[in-house]
């Protein structure tokens, strides 16, 4: 039965791989029409994109592998790519390279060939070399023993030919490419391969032999697992013997030979038409300005400021309507269900207002992602990391960590997601954990309320500004403490080694797809967890039934009473403050709304609050609102991005502890001075 179906419609799997910035996503979109299922690779939070297309009678599943420079097992991304190719054995691997940058890009290609993968080489962005170089792809096909296709993925050019070659090559015999590593190494390889004859591993033998010589830990482990200690020992001797003959480290030697081979290929296949690379000089000229010692940081600040202002201006326009829509939706559902007060309250106060809050943020987030994707796709983000590296180094984080920190001022959820640009796991974790201290825009209404009620005549904007500064200081302090005292986060800042891609104009389609995918992920991730949280908090605020929503008699009110004594040392030990903070966990701006509900009306809060707070305790309350437990959406994002319940709990406890201690300290010390 199964065979018959297969006959009618064949199905093959193709993996896409390439260095970062070679147009891999554009190729993926061109092949699949942009329809992708986005998920994470199992066990890690690296994005996995899958899609498909049909060509003739064959269905082709396309898997987008993470960007990689080689297939070493030392970085998560590269390990994922390698494991996928080794273990899932896709029918075809398409290696996408930047035609303007063959020398470097072909290294990954060689790694694929050595691994024995059925590889097709896609020379992407051939439009950029027009009039400057010519590439003889026929000769290349012959020398590399590989089908070669020229593409311009952003313009859909060469994609049909790529599809055809994928189908054709899947039917043909795999072609192998053997790099000659010189007499001594080849003889050693032969000996190792002979020893491998009895070893049953589903990989190419020459590949295993090479990896053993290089001392590749994951291959060594695998052999150890099947009891080949002796073989490992033998190879080890071969390697050290070779190192004495060659007078250099074996790994370095092999890499040099590979580059030597690539240089030979490029020399034979690529002819320079003009001697001067125009794009490069322009690129260098831009770099001289944007990475300048003095100008670099102001330019970056300006770019970010514009991105922020613009996305919140444009996003805010939509957000207002969405907000109104959800207000209307809540009210109309409530009036429709008025004979079922419990259900109506659940829908209006819980579901609609909770989920509505998240969706209200979507336009802001989408536009922010849009600008950031644009900056990334033109090649600027790599420069920003370059510029910020110096400052971030002092904090103990790499330059790339700066962008998520900055995003935190908008909303911590996309900020936590944006930490994916940080390759080192420990640094990524630290950046995630300190992110909630960056004061997001949802906390602003709280500051505005309290600043206008208590500091109207004492520079309210300075008071608000001081809270942002406090958040930054707490974030920096926390990062330093984590580095010092948490063993699994200890270590030096990972050194910067990064390629700066040449500037190029992205296509709007690519940028929009890029940012829409991220926004979708935000919705999906935030959505599930928020829903659960909203239901939980709503239950607290409405049970037992009959009590007015979030009033003193409800569970939330009782909890408020319960935690009030804990808040007393911070100067606001009454149950309403407790309930407001509790509700703030749904979304921070809810704090204001809850205070409004509890004290009668939101409009009169400014006159009522002074009966409960002194300026000192008001400021302490703002500190608490800034630092305590992140909102449910952020907790959800932290959980999804760390993939760890323990780290999420840690973030929860740490922020609660820091928020409480600092507001109590502030209040107590302040009292000494004011009394």
């Amino acid at each position: 039965m199964k065979g018959e179906i297969k006959e009618a419609q064949k199905e093959i799997t193709v993996a896409l791989i390439g260095n970062p910035n070679v147009g891999k996503s554009a190729t993926f979109n061109a092949l699949t029409g942009g329809n992708a299922r986005v998920a994470n690779w199992p066990g890690v939070t690296v994005e996995k994109k899958e899609g498909s297309f049909t060509f003739g009678d064959t269905k082709v599943n396309v898997v987008d592998l993470p960007g990689a420079y080689s297939l070493s097992p030392y970085s998560i991304d590269e390990r994922i790519a390698r494991d996928f190719i080794l273990n899932e054995k896709p029918d075809i691997v398409v290696c996408i390279v930047d035609s303007t940058n063959l020398l470097r890009n072909l290294y990954l290609f060689l790694s694929l060939k050595e691994l024995g993968a059925r590889t097709i080489l896609a020379l992407n962005m051939v439009d950029l070399i027009e009039g400057k170089y010519s590439i003889d792809e026929k000769l290349m096909e012959e020398l590399l023993k590989t089908p070669v296709v020229k593409t311009i993925a952003t313009r859909n050019e060469g994609i049909d030919e790529l599809k055809r070659k994928i189908i054709d090559y899947a039917r043909e015999e795999a072609k192998h490419l053997v790099i000659n590593y010189g007499e001594e190494v080849e003889r050693a390889l032969e000996r190792i391969i002979n020893n491998l004859a009895r070893v049953n591993l589903p990989y190419n033998r020459r590949f295993i032999a090479l990896k053993l010589l290089e001392g590749d830990p994951s291959i060594v482990d695998e052999l150890r697992r099947i009891g080949q200690e002796e073989l490992i020992e033998k190879t080890h001797l071969e390697a050290s013997h070779l190192e004495t003959i060659l007078g250099s480290d074996i790994e370095t030697y092999l890499i040099e030979r590979r580059y030597g081979f690539i240089e030979g290929i490029v020399k034979r296949c690529v002819k320079r038409i003009t001697t001067l690379e125009e794009r490069l000089t322009i690129s260098d000229r831009i770099d001289r300005v944007v990475t300048n010692k003095y100008l670099g940081i102001p330019i970056f600040a300006l770019a970010m400021l514009i991105a922020f202002k613009l996305s919140f201006a444009v996003g805010g326009f939509f957000a207002e309507y969405i907000d109104q829509f959800f207000g209307w939706l809540g009210d109309s559902i409530a009036s429709y269900l008025k004979h079922l007060p419990l259900l109506s309250s659940f829908v209006k106060d819980g579901l609609v207002s909770g989920v509505g809050t998240v969706i209200t943020f979507l336009p802001n987030i989408f536009f922010l992602f849009l600008f950031l994707s644009f900056l990334e796709d033109i090649g600027y983000m790599a420069r920003a990391a370059f510029v910020m590296d110096r400052i971030m180094y002092a904090i103990g984080l790499p330059g790339r960590a700066f962008i998520p920190m900055l995003l935190g001022f908008g909303c911590n959820v996309p900020a936590v997601m944006a930490t994916r640009v940080i390759p080192d796991n420990r640094e990524r974790l630290i950046t995630i954990l300190i992110n909630p201290f960056m004061s997001c825009s949802a906390r602003l209404p709280i500051y505005v309320l309290f600043a206008s009620a208590f500091f109207a005549s004492h520079h309210p904007s300075l008071v608000i500004f001081s809270l942002y500064i406090l958040g930054i200081l707490v974030a920096i302090g926390s990062a330093k403490l984590f580095r010092q005292f948490i063993p699994s986060l200890r270590g030096k800042v990972s050194p910067l080694i990064m390629e700066l891609p040449p500037y190029r104009m992205p296509t709007w389609k690519g940028v929009i797809i890029h940012s829409w995918m991220r926004s979708k992920l935000f919705l999906k991730k935030a959505g599930t967890i928020i829903l659960l949280g909203v239901i939980f908090i709503w239950l607290l605020a409405s049970l037992p039934s009959g009590a007015p929503y979030a009033s003193s008699e409800t569970l939330a009110g009782r909890l408020g009473h319960l935690i009030a004594p804990l808040l007393k040392p911070a100067g606001f030990g009454f149950w309403q403050a407790g309930v407001a903070l509790l509700m703030g966990v749904i979304a921070k701006e809810t704090v204001v709304g809850t205070l409004g509900t509890l004290f009668g009306s939101e409009e009169k809060l400014t006159s009522i609050l002074p009966n409960f707070f002194t300026p000192l305790s008001a400021y302490a309350f703002m500190i608490m609102s800034l630092l305590y437990i992140p909102c449910i959406a952020t907790i959800g994002a932290i959980y999804r991005e760390t993939g760890s319940f323990r780290w999420t709990l840690f973030s929860f406890i740490w922020s609660l502890f820091v928020g409480w201690s600092i507001s109590v300290l502030f209040y107590q010390i302040g009292r000494l001075f004011l009394l």
Binding site: Y69, S70, S72, Y74, T100, N101, L103, R104, Y107, E251, T252, I255, E256, Y259, E277, L280, S283, D284, D287, R288, T291, N292, K293, A382, A385, F386, V387, D389, R390, Y393, G399, P495, L496, I497, M498, E499, L500, P501, P502
Partner: protein
Amino acid sequence: MLRRFEIPLAFAKEGEEYEIVGINGGGGIRRRLEEMGIFPGRKIKLISNSAGPLMLGIGDNRIAVGRGIAFKIIVR
């Protein structure tokens, strides 16, 4: 041409061309550098060297390396 002294890249001059003669330091960093095409024998151009990271040109590629690493790359 006068034979130049071997110096860490961090002390090299902006805009000049150099040849890499060696990389001091651990396997991890060396491997990353080698994958980027930075290894002994290669000719590089130092595009910028002010405060903070350095920018190198290797052929048509532009690569940023942190100052710490620049002390470990020996050039001539």
